[in-house]
């Protein structure tokens, strides 16, 4: 009897611990970043995305089993001094980091390590943008000016606003909080604005970038997404910020 209880307890523990992932189908997606730097759409393979960003509580469970990622243990090359600085200590969240708030002040390396720990990876920019283009009824709401306005509103809020808990409205795939909660790391954050086919340019920076297709931005009316691209590409992999969290995906 005790064994049964123990097993039931373990199972309950497991189901509480395992994050939910929702499947997204293959698609041809018109990103703000054309795949060839001109106009080519992105070709998306099917994948599953975490329905919520990773929370403080989930990240705490991760660092308890992966001590190398505890606050205080991570070298500056992999996370700057702000890493989890709003946590009370390496093992206590405290009043500035509520369990159901998305974890923030984590570096790209830390986010990668977390995703790996649940047999997942960070989404590519295309995966993130594709999932975030949906609202509760449409897979692509971006042509709707009201939708764009709502997304943009969030970016206009002062950064000192307290982070909300996870649990916003689900989009048509069942994924929540892509817009309006936190910025999120993507795997290829350092690939987004590798631009300017420099052979055509003059001046000191002529060879800063090398490549056949210059990155051009499409959908100029989609400011919110363009701001996200600009913000992500300004980051270093060791950076941590107050409103930058992440979620993971799995290839299907």
């Amino acid at each position: 009897m005790r064994a049964v209880l123990l097993i039931a307890g373990l199972l309950a523990g497991l189901s509480a611990a395992a994050a939910d992932y929702a499947p997204l189908p293959a698609a041809v997606f018109n990103s703000v970043l054309p795949a060839d730097g001109k106009s080519a759409p992105a070709r998306m393979a099917p994948f599953a995305m975490r329905v919520e960003p990773v929370t403080n509580d989930e990240y705490l469970a991760f660092v308890q089993t992966h001590p190398a990622w505890r606050k205080g243990n991570v070298p500056a090359a992999l996370a700057d001094a702000g890493y989890l600085s709003h946590w009370n200590s390496a093992s206590v969240l405290g009043s500035h980091a509520l369990p159901e708030q998305p974890v923030t002040r984590v570096s790209w390396f830390a986010a990668q390590a977390f995703c790996e720990s649940e047999q997942a990876r960070l989404p590519t920019w295309y995966e993130w943008e594709y999932a975030a283009a949906a609202d509760s009824t449409r897979t692509d709401a971006r042509a709707d000016a009201q939708w764009r306005e709502r997304v943009l509103d969030w970016y206009g809020r002062p950064s000192s606003t307290t982070l909300a808990d996870i649990g916003g409205d689900a989009n048509v795939y069942g994924v929540r909080d892509l817009n309006g909660l936190v910025w999120e790391w993507v795997d290829d954050f350092n690939a987004l604005l590798v631009s300017a086919d420099s052979r055509d340019q003059n001046g000191a920076d002529t060879t800063k970038f090398c490549g056949a297709g210059a990155a051009t931005l499409q959908q100029k009316e989609n400011y919110a997404t363009l701001m996200r691209v600009a913000m992500l590409s300004a980051l270093k992999a060791s950076d941590t910020t107050r409103a930058l969290g992440f979620r993971c995906v799995r290839t299907l």
Partner: protein, 189 residues
Amino acid sequence: MKRLLLGMLLLLGAGHAVAETPLPGTSVYQLDVGLIDQQGHGWPWADRRGQVQIVSMFYTSCSMVCPMIVDTMKLTAQAVHAPGHAPLSLLLVSFDPARDTASVLRDYAQRRHLPSPPWMLARTESPAAARQLAAVLGLQYRQLPDGDFNHSSELILLDAEGRVAARTSVIGRLDPEFVHAIERTLADQ
């Protein structure tokens, strides 16, 4: 012979000392990835510790700026005047581990006259590891649908502990500031 023995002892002693000093937090060798060189040998990235080196990333099928990166590294190494100091190592890591196999890298090194030492051409074990290495070095790149890459072109100077001592995006000609930084870093070892 005596000098050779003495030299070997010194080397062993130095290796020992290095192993006992903790790696600085800002060292790029804090990143745990594997490299495979043009001879097909696998190395932990952190095995580069102890060498002052110029590092950059490239890919062999690139016909535009990459040859200029290699030429600029050559030019820079030739301009360094540091008599009596440790040699300067030169490391190129591919953005494109899928196509830049060890034999492709070896052919490239031969064609472009990049003898080892001081040159090492290497690939990472996976595209994900290439992305991590670029991230820790602060380099940006993007693969295009046709297989080419757009990428930032920079030379990065690492000191023996793997700290970024200097970087330059001057490609195609010598950057005197960067050469001075190399000389200073070699003198500090």
